[in-house]
Symmetry: C2
């Protein structure tokens, strides 16, 4: 058991942090007591403030904190999960007991990793944890900030800029409190680490819903898109892109140009990827001369099938083997005219074995160009191949279009870094990080 006290003022030791989880009306008196005790920070989980129109109560809390010099997270939030220190204020237990008595994982805490999650919605926050844990992605820290009576999104971005554990930031927003400051801070952060944002309240129905959720004024959606673009923030169109893009930006370097080559054993899916690349501003043009001549030689030497298509997409057809896939990928990566590679190695063909994943991972170390993998399917082999790629930090997707979209995000981030004169520095630091955490 833990020691309990009738009031925070009765605790004999110093108190660094107060986590407030009592009904809304009791929050101001509790905060007064915390102030008396000299507490430095409070997390107010309690809801029932400005999101239900109770602005006065929220203002009272703000005043007490300001007077005492206390920093406040919330109210109407879940607080933090910090895998490094073990501080976890989420009131949702990791498991849930079904009616049958069986205990299942319901609100997991992801392992320690590279991604910081900053979210205005607590519910979406825990859903993110569930998603990230299920995909075996790790978080550096998680913060749900709700109605932001004090600390807001800009404060967290500023914090995560300096946090060494964090390599990329996922940011869910319904509104931004101070646009000018947010853009200033974001511009500094994105020079060093990527930010992927999901901004909801795009339509009138969404904006209305946002108002009654965290009391946010959503504002014009185009203004947000422009502000994000100017700050180097990658804006995700929807929840799926939000997670997909983050994984790619953490695992792979940005591209230094828009020329993408698609290597496949499956014609149809390659057309889907090519379509989506072009729609997103990437180029799936003819193969660069040096690369084309190597592949032509491979065809002449019968290293790849006579009927393989050595255009772009390179289609090695159903007769592909692991070694063909690997040597073609190597030849393509070696060409200076190629900025990124999408691999559509559908596992269904007889000659492609799972060892191609290890071999691709081994050669990828020698190139500072993004590789995105895709395998379609939901049964054993597809899940195995995708998870094997991700063990080697090659992001892997179940749809060709998703692969193309994340490549477009890597291009867009690369272009932003170049425009800020910090692409080379980013790539060098990315390489250093990869070399030091070599998983091969």
């Amino acid at each position: 058991g833990y020691d309990c006290y009738p009031s925070i003022t009765k605790i004999p030791n110093e108190v660094d942090l107060a986590v407030v989880v009592i009904p809304a009306v009791g929050v101001p008196p509790a905060m007064e007591e915390a102030a008396v005790k000299g507490v430095k920070a409070a997390i107010i989980i309690t809801s029932g403030f400005s999101e239900v129109g109770n602005h006065e109560l929220e203002h009272k809390v703000k005043e007490i904190a300001a007077r005492a010099g206390m920093r406040v997270l919330g109210p109407n939030c879940l607080g933090v999960d910090d895998p490094l220190t073990g501080i976890d204020t989420l009131f949702l237990p990791e498991t849930k007991v079904l009616i049958s008595g069986e205990e299942v994982i319901a609100t997991p805490r992801p392992k320690l990793g590279d991604i910081a999650v900053v979210t205005q919605s607590g519910a979406f926050g825990v859903a993110s944890l569930d998603y990230l844990a299920g995909r075996r992605l790790g978080i550096s820290r998680f913060v749900s900030f709700g109605n932001r009576v004090d600390l807001d999104e800009s404060d967290f971005l500023e914090y995560f800029l300096k946090d060494e554990q964090t390599k990329a930031i996922l940011c869910y927003l319904e509104g931004i409190r101070n646009g000018k400051r947010f853009m200033e801070v974001a511009r500094e952060v994105t020079k060093v680490k990527p930010i992927v944002a999901l901004k909801t309240g795009k339509t009138s129905a969404g904006a209305k819903a946002a108002m009654s959720h965290t009391g946010s004024i959503a504002g014009s959606d185009e203004i947000y898109s422009t502000a994000f673009a100017q700050s180097g923030i990658i804006r995700a169109r929807d929840m799926e892109e939000f997670f997909d893009m983050c994984k790619a930006l953490v695992f792979q370097p940005p591209t230094t140009g828009r020329n993408i080559v698609i290597i496949t054993d499956a014609g149809g899916p390659a057309i889907m990827a090519a379509d989506e690349c072009e729609l997103r501003g990437l180029k799936v043009g003819v193969l660069p001369e040096d690369c084309a001549s190597v592949l032509k030689k491979m065809k002449e030497d019968a290293e790849i099938p006579q009927f393989a298509s050595i255009n772009n997409p390179v289609d090695l057809t159903g007769s592909v083997t692991s070694d063909m896939f690997v040597s073609v990928t190597k030849a393509v990566l070696q060409s200076s005219g190629v900025n990124g590679v999408i691999l559509l190695g559908l596992h269904h063909v007889p000659g492609l074995q799972e060892d191609y994943v290890d071999k691709i991972a081994a050669i990828s170390r020698n190139f500072l160009k993004p590789i995105i993998a895709c395998d379609i399917g939901e049964t054993e082999m597809a899940l195995y191949i995708r998870s094997k790629f991700e063990k080697f930090e090659i992001p892997s997707y179940s749809s060709p279009e998703d692969s193309a979209r994340v490549m477009a995000a890597l291009y867009s981030y690369g272009e932003y870094l170049r425009s800020q004169g910090c692409l080379e520095r980013y790539l060098a630091s990315f390489k250093k990080r990869k070399d030091s955490t070599n998983t091969y």
Copy 2:
């Protein structure tokens, strides 16, 4: 072992179907022999015809078949998988042996079900089988048609119109051979069963890839969009929508109007769904009067939390219980002003137990309105909830935006049926089917 013969002409019995899997150059002589034998139909799996520029060889095959009155599927295809009769010409075995010796499912055959798959790409076709089997969706028949020297997409649509086992058609196309006939046939089919199409080769890079894949001329993308819309075909934007929409159209009735209500325990995800609904032409407006007054009464009677938001989205907050979720859903479905319901029951909150799924399924029987479910997450409880919904044929998605998109597809199909004067008939036959296969 099977009996082998040096030539088809040496087989003593009659032969209904020839499956041709020898190298391209040997195909015409083999077809000549099949003609002599009086074979009625041939599936030519072999590739190396017009997709690699070998038009003459393809023309030869066409001539032989026409002369003999033989129907031909292919060449450059996988042929058929028919779970009803057991005919399966796919040369890809169901399992694959890993290097470790372990045998895993690699190219599954889905169980018998409602969905016909018609695909120009064999590789995408098997990937579809993998996807559908993994999501436990059944197929009526699968046909991969490749270069269509004879039978083409319109023939299959015509066939599946009359096929009682088929309730919806998934159609992957790189090009259409005869636009006029295709539209004529499709118009008849879509009055009775939905067609979801994925048409690739949208961009110049995609069109080029399609040409070297199945020798298809992709044509202008807007023309396809218009032709699909005029024929009542639902066009999927990408692979994911393709499968998502098909599942919704098989499981749920189309909407009879655009008014959608979102019921949630999670504010953020509800905003995402509301945004996507509006972007896709649905309305997430104020609750209809009758429905609003029932919910108001429930609030007064403390049947739902005081701080629940009874706007649209209806946000029952983290204090929701299974019974609250169910009774609110029932009240919403009962309102004549509501055409469809999106349920965002995020499982992370303490009071929502898995029994809400069974209860929702039970009440859904009494309404001919679509219900779409969403639960976010990739760990045990989320997978369990989604799969439980689908057991009751309530389509379930992992992202709020996907739920909104499939609702838009149901609206779009409903509007098409209404424009053709066959909405009532479709709904009646849908209801009859549901009543006869009652899974509750």
